[in-house]
Symmetry: C2
Subunit: 688 residues, 2 copies
C-alpha cells in the first residue's frame, strides 16, 4: 500500500494544497478496499453488502451503467444512455426525444429494439487456466491459444441464451476472470423527460459543473412478456445525498489507461488522440450543417451529433491532460519507477525486463499500420448502418461455418444473442443520413490512404465517394429487418447468392479486412498483450494486489464523498438547486426549459437540490450508475464528470476530479410535480 | 558559412544518404549568395541580373506571388491566387470558376474588385533609425516608439497612393528595411482555365507529386485605364525547364519559423497548430455539407472550402514535422547550440543571455490569453464579411481621428488605399453563407470562452448563436458598397449615427477588442519582439550575415535544380506529361478533365512536359512565382510544394523537399491548342 502511494504520488503534483480526499480507484467487488474506506469514513462494507450492491447494479450492453430500482424489474439509467432507443421509437410525426415519454399504464411500456441489460451474477478467477493454455507461446500461437481457452471457458459457462459469459482481462492481463451475467433482452421504455431538460445546457454545459440536468430514464426488464421479478434492487433514500456524506458508485466504467507505459502514452498523445479528434471535429461540422436542412434532418441526426460532440469534448479533455507537461512527466516517472524497481532485481529483470522494449516495438508497428487497421479492418472507411449489417451478414455467416473457438470474437456463441438482436432490429435506418456518413468516411478513406492506394482504387473504381455511397444506399434492400433475418438464417449460401450492392461491397473488402485484422490479432496485439501481462505481473510483485485494475467495462465500485472543489481560485459548492435552472434559462436551445417545467414552476420547491458532485472516481461508461449511501439506498444518479475528470483516463486528481449526479430528491420531485408520474413514484417508494 | 552549416546540420538527420542538393534558403536580393550558386552551378548572377529579376517580380497583396510577362502589363500567377477575383466576377448564371475565362480582345478584360499588385522598386536599410528610436525602452514604451518610428519612415517615403511603403522586419528584428513598392490597383482578368484543370486532383492531390495541374491565370495591370507600360518583365524560354537545370524562384514566401526557440516550437506543436487544425476540420465538415444544399451553395462556398482544405492539409504537414521526435530534437539542438555559444562568452551572455527566458515567459502569457486574443481581439468569433466591414467602419473612422503614428497599423496612410479598395469592393456578399459562418464562429466563441464568460454573455444575450447571426445578417445593409463608402467618407460621426445591427455589434465588442489588442501590443508582443531581436543579434555575432532571414511576405530569391527524389524507396521523376493527366482522369470530380481538354486531346503532343519539381526552397506565399533559368527566362510557374515541403516551415530537408511548378511548355501548349488564346501566345512570345 505504501508503495502504491509512492507510485501514485507523482500525480499529485497537479493537486492543490487542499487535496484531502484521495478516494481513488475503480475497484472490483472481489478486491474492494474495505479497510481503507473504514479508516477514511468509519464504515466498512460487509460481504453481504457488496453482494447486494453488485446484484442491484446493471450494465447496458454497449456502454452504460444502470440500476435495478424495484422488485418489478424497473431500471434507472440516464436519458443519454437510452437516447438511441428513444430515438428509434420516435417518428417524424411523434418525436419522443423532444416531447418526452411516460407510460402511465403498464401496457403503454414500449420495447426498445436494441437494448440489452446485464446483471453480474457470478465471478470466478480463471487466470491459471488461461495462463496454462498460453504458457511458452508467442505471437500468433499465443493469440490462438488464448482465444481457444477463453472461448472454451465461456462456452462451458453459458447454459442458455439468458446468460452471458465473458472472460475478462484485468490488470492489463495480470488476471483473467469469468464474469457470468443474467441477460435481459426484452427491455421496455417506461419514462423519459424531454431532451431539453435531460441535456439542459447542451454541449456548452457538458462536462461542466455547476449543472442542471434531469438526465434520467426508466426502463423495465421483462421475462416471458411479464415484468421480471427481482430479488435484488436498490431502495430509495428519503433525504438523498448530503454534503460530506460517504457515497458509493457502482457501475461499469468503460476504460482507463492509468497503467500505460511511456511508449503507449506518447502514441496516445501524438497520434491516436489527435487523429480521432480531427475526424470528430470534421464530422461535427458536417452533422451540424446537415441538421440545417430541415426539421426531420435535425431530428434524425440528433443522437449522432450528441455522440460526436460528447466524444470530442471528452477526448479533448483527455488530450489536454497529456499535453500538460508536468502531468505527462509524472506519468513517465511512474512508468520509470516500476521499470527501475524491476531492473534492480536481476531475477525480475530476467523475467520482465524486456517487456517495455517489446511493447514499444509493438506500438511502433501499430503506428505504422494504424490507418489500414482503422479504415479497412475496423471499417472506419465505411460508416453506415447498412454496411455494418452487410458486413455482419458476409463475415458472420462465414465465421459461423467454423468451430466456436476459431471464430472472430464477436461471432462466438456467447455474443450471438446480442448480435442477432441488433441485426434483426426494427429500428429505422435513414437513407439521407446514411449517404452523408458513408460519403464522409469513403472520402476520409481516400484522404488517409491516398488516392493511389490499391485498396482505395478497388473500392472506388472510377466513382466518386458520393456517387458510390448514393448508389449503394439507394440500391440496398438491407434496411428491411426481415430480409436481414432471412439472409442470416439462410447462412452463407443465402448471403453469397444475394447481389445486394451493400453485400457486394462487404464482400469486396472482406479479404483486405481479414488480412489487416490478422496482422493485428496475430502480430501486433499478442506482443502488446503479452508484454502488458508481464508488466502487470511485475507490478503485482512490486506493489502487491492492493491496487485496482484499469477499467474494462466490468463492474466496479468506487467510494467518495459529496464535496465541492476549487476552480481558478473560486470555491464550487457541491449542490445546485431547481432555482438555478430557472435562472440559467434563456428560452433558447440549449438553455430552454421545456414547457412542462415552466408550467410546473409554481408548484416546485425551488430550493430542492438538483445536481451534485462527489469525489467518486468514475469515467465514461459510468453514466447511469446509482450513487448510494452506506445503507445501499439511492441518493443520486451519475450522469457526468466535470472537465477536470477527463484527465482521469490517465490519473486521478483527488483535489478537482468530480463525478456529477442528479440528486434523488430532484428525480422524485420531477416525476411527481412536473410529470405526474405517480405510478413510478409509488413504485420507487412503495408505502410512502 | 561553416558555422551556418554546423547549425543547419542537425536538420539533416532527416535527409537520406543521397542528399546532395543543399539549395536551402529564401534569400533577400541584397544578400544573395552569388558565390555559393557559382560554386554549385557555375553561374554567378550579376547585380544587373538581380535587379532585372526583382523588377520582373510581383506580389499579389494578401498572399501570393506573380510575375510581369509582357511590356503591356501582363501578369502571370496561379489560378488559385486569382480564385477570389474569378469567383467575385462569377454569378449564379455565369460561373467562370467552372467555365474558365478568356478575354479574346483587350476590351473583354474585366477588373478584379479587390486585387492589388505590388512591385518592389527600392529597398533601404533603416535598422539604425528604428533602433535609435527604441533604444533602452521596454514594454509599451518600446512598442510605441517602434510604431512611431516605422510610421514616420513609411509616411516620409510614400509620395502618393501609387506607392506603398512598408518597414519590414528581417532576421526576427535583427534588421529593419524600408521596402518601396509600385502599387497597381486596377488589375484585370485576362485568362483563367476551368477549375477542374487548374486544380485537377483537388484536395487528394494537393501537395502531392507527381501532379497534373494547369494552375495558371493571367491578369493585366492598368494605369489611367490603359495597360501599364512596363520596362521590366520576364521573357519566355523556348525549351522550358530541363532535368538538372539550375532554376531560380523569385517570389514572396509568406512566413517561415526556422529560427524559433524551444518555447515557441513547443507552443506551436502543443497549442497553436492543433487548435487551428481542429477549427479548420470542423469548418471543413460544415462547408462540405453546406455545398450539398444545392448548385448555388456549391458555387458560392467553393473558394472558402478550398482555403480551408488547403490550410488544413498544409498545417497538418507542418504539425507532422514537429511531431517527428528526431526532427523536433534537431530543432531544439539548434536553439541550444546558439544559446550555448552565447553563454560561453560572458559579454554576450550579459547582452543576450536573458532573451530566451524572457521569450519563454512571453509565450506563456500568449498561451494564457490566446483565446481572448484570437476570438475577441482578432475577431475570430465573428467570421463574416459584413462584420469585417462593420469593424473597419467602426474602428477605422475612430482611428482616423488620430495622428498617423498613433493608429492601429492597418489604418496607417500607407495601408489606406488597399483597405479602401476592399471596403468599397463590389464583390457580392452571400447572406446564406454569412449566416452559417457567423453562427459557427459565435458558437466557437461560446465554446472556447465558455457560456458563462462575461463577454460571451454580452454578445449573445439571450439569443442563440444562429438567432443572433440571422438577425444581424438579415438586418444589415452593409452588403451595399455605396453605403459603406458613404459611411467611411462621412467619418466617425456618420458611423456613430448609423444603427445598422452589424455596426451595433462592432461597437458592442470594440472596447473588449481594444483591451485585448492592447494587452497583446503593449505587454506580450514587445517582449517577444525585443527578445527575438536580441537573439537575432546574437545570431549575427555568432554566424555572421551569410544566412537568410525567415520569410515575411517580402521578396526572396531561391536557387535550385530540376531534380526528382525518393519516396518509400521509390524514385520520383521530376517531370509529368500531358499523357499522365489523361491516364489519371476518371470523369468524376476532382479527377474529371474539362470538356475543352477531352476535345483537344487529338491535337496535343501528349509527351509534352506538364508539371515538374525542383529543389528550390519555397513555402506558402510563393504560389504564382516564376521559375526562371540563368537567362532570367520563364521556364515554369510555381503552384505548390510536395508533402515533404510542408515541414519546410521549420527546416529545409534538401533530399525530399520539392517545389512543384507548371512547365512553361505546358502553359503555351494549353493556351495555343486547348484554349485558342492566340492573343496571349503572341504577347508572351512576340515574333515567334
Amino acid at each position: 500500500m505504501h508503495t502504491q502511494l509512492r507510485f501514485g504520488a507523482a500525480i499529485l503534483v497537479l493537486a492543490t494544497a487542499q487535496a484531502g480526499y484521495a478516494d481513488e480507484g475503480m475497484w472490483t467487488f472481489d478486491n474492494f478496499p474495505k479497510e481503507r474506506v473504514k479508516k477514511a469514513y468509519g464504515f466498512e462494507p460487509s460481504g453481504a453488502w457488496l453482494d447486494q450492491v453488485r446484484l442491484g447494479s446493471a450494465r447496458i450492453a454497449g456502454g452504460c451503467s444502470a440500476s435495478f430500482v424495484s422488485a418489478a424489474g424497473l431500471v434507472m439509467t440516464n436519458h443519454h444512455c437510452a437516447h438511441s432507443c428513444i430515438q428509434q421509437l420516435s417518428t417524424k410525426d411523434k418525436d419522443i426525444v423532444k416531447a418526452g415519454f411516460y407510460a402511465a399504464t403498464p401496457e403503454a411500456e414500449v420495447r426498445c429494439p436494441e437494448l440489452e441489460i446485464n446483471q453480474l451474477v457470478a465471478m470466478a478467477d480463471v487466470t491459471a487456466q488461461v495462463n496454462a493454455a498460453t504458457k511458452g507461446k508467442e505471437g500468433a500461437a499465443y493469440a490462438e491459444a488464448q482465444k481457444a481457452a477463453t472461448a472454451r471457458i465461456e462456452k462451458e459457462c453459458q447454459a442458455s441464451d439468458a446468460l452471458r459469459c465473458d472472460v475478462v482481462s484485468l490488470y492489463g492481463g495480470g488476471q483473467y476472470h469469468l464474469y457470468r451475467y443474467q441477460r435481459y433482452q426484452d427491455v421496455r421504455l417506461v419514462f423519459a423527460p424531454e431532451l431539453a431538460i435531460a441535456f439542459f445546457g447542451g454541449d456548452p454545459d457538458n462536462f461542466m459543473f455547476p449543472r442542471y440536468d434531469l438526465d434520467v430514464s426508466f426502463l423495465r426488464v421483462y421475462q416471458g412478456d411479464k415484468p421480471a421479478k427481482l430479488e435484488h434492487y436498490f431502495k430509495w433514500s428519503a433525504a438523498g445525498a448530503k454534503e460530506g456524506e460517504l457515497t458509493f458508485v457502482s457501475g461499469h466504467p468503460g476504460g482507463t489507461d492509468r497503467q500505460l507505459t511511456a511508449a503507449e502514452l506518447e502514441y496516445e498523445r501524438d497520434v491516436a488522440l489527435p487523429e480521432r479528434l480531427l475526424t470528430l471535429a470534421q464530422l461535427r461540422g458536417l452533422l451540424t450543417q446537415f441538421q440545417e436542412r430541415g426539421a426531420e434532418e435535425r431530428r434524425i441526426a440528433t443522437h449522432d451529433l450528441f455522440g460526436v460532440e460528447n466524444g470530442y469534448k471528452a477526448l479533448r479533455g483527455r488530450w489536454s491532460a497529456l499535453l500538460d507537461k508536468a502531468f505527462f512527466a509524472s506519468k513517465l516517472a511512474e512508468d520509470n519507477a516500476l521499470r527501475s524497481q524491476v531492473a534492480k532485481d536481476p531475477a525480475r529483470q530476467q523475467k520482465y525486463g524486456a517487456a517495455w522494449e517489446q511493447l514499444a516495438k509493438a506500438v511502433a508497428e501499430q503506428k505504422k499500420y494504424r490507418l489500414q487497421l482503422r479504415y479497412v479492418a475496423s471499417g472506419a472507411g465505411f460508416s453506415s448502418k447498412l454496411f455494418a449489417h452487410a458486413r455482419t451478414l458476409v463475415q458472420g455467416t462465414e465465421e459461423l461455418t467454423r468451430p466456436n473457438d476459431k471464430r472472430f470474437e464477436e461471432y462466438r456463441d456467447t455474443d450471438l444473442p446480442q448480435l442477432q438482436q441488433r441485426l434483426f432490429s426494427k429500428a429505422p435506418i435513414y437513407p439521407g443520413l446514411e449517404v452523408e456518413k458513408l460519403t464522409f468516411s469513403l472520402t476520409k478513406l481516400r484522404e488517409e490512404l491516398g488516392a493511389d492506394d490499391a485498396f482505395v482504387k478497388k473500392v472506388l473504381g472510377a466513382e466518386s465517394p458520393r456517387e458510390l455511397a448514393t448508389r449503394l444506399v439507394q440500391g440496398s434492400k438491407l434496411a428491411d429487418p426481415e430480409l436481414r433475418k432471412k439472409l442470416w438464417q439462410g447462412g452463407k449460401a443465402a448471403v453469397v447468392a444475394d447481389k445486394d450492392p451493400m453485400l457486394e461491397l462487404a464482400r469486396l473488402v472482406d479479404a483486405d479486412s481479414r488480412l489487416w485484422r490478422k496482422k493485428w490479432e496475430e502480430e501486433i496485439e499478442p506482443v502488446q498483450k503479452k508484454a502488458a501481462e508481464q508488466i502487470a505481473k511485475a507490478r503485482f510483485e512490486v506493489l502487491g494486489t492492493s491496487h485496482y485494475p484499469d477499467a474494462t467495462s466490468t463492474l466496479r465500485l468506487s467510494y467518495g464523498a459529496v464535496v465541492g472543489y476549487e476552480e481558478n481560485g473560486k470555491k464550487i459548492k457541491p449542490f445546485t438547486t431547481f432555482a438555478g435552472a430557472f435562472e440559467r434559462e434563456t428560452g433558447r436551445d440549449p438553455f430552454a426549459l421545456p414547457a412542462s417545467w415552466l408550467k410546473a414552476k409554481p408548484n416546485l420547491d425551488l430550493g430542492t437540490p438538483f445536481n451534485f458532485c462527489s469525489s467518486n472516481d468514475i469515467i465514461g461508461g459510468n453514466s447511469g450508475s446509482p450513487v448510494i449511501n452506506k445503507n445501499a439506498e439511492i441518493v443520486g444518479l451519475i450522469f457526468d464528470g466535470n472537465l477536470q475528470s477527463l484527465g482521469g483516463e490517465y490519473g486521478f486528481d483527488a483535489s478537482v476530479n468530480r463525478a456529477v449526479a442528479v440528486h434523488s430528491q430532484a428525480l422524485l420531485l420531477a416525476l411527481d410535480k412536473i410529470y405526474g408520474a405517480q405510478r413510478l413514484v409509488t413504485e420507487l417508494r412503495p408505502g410512502k
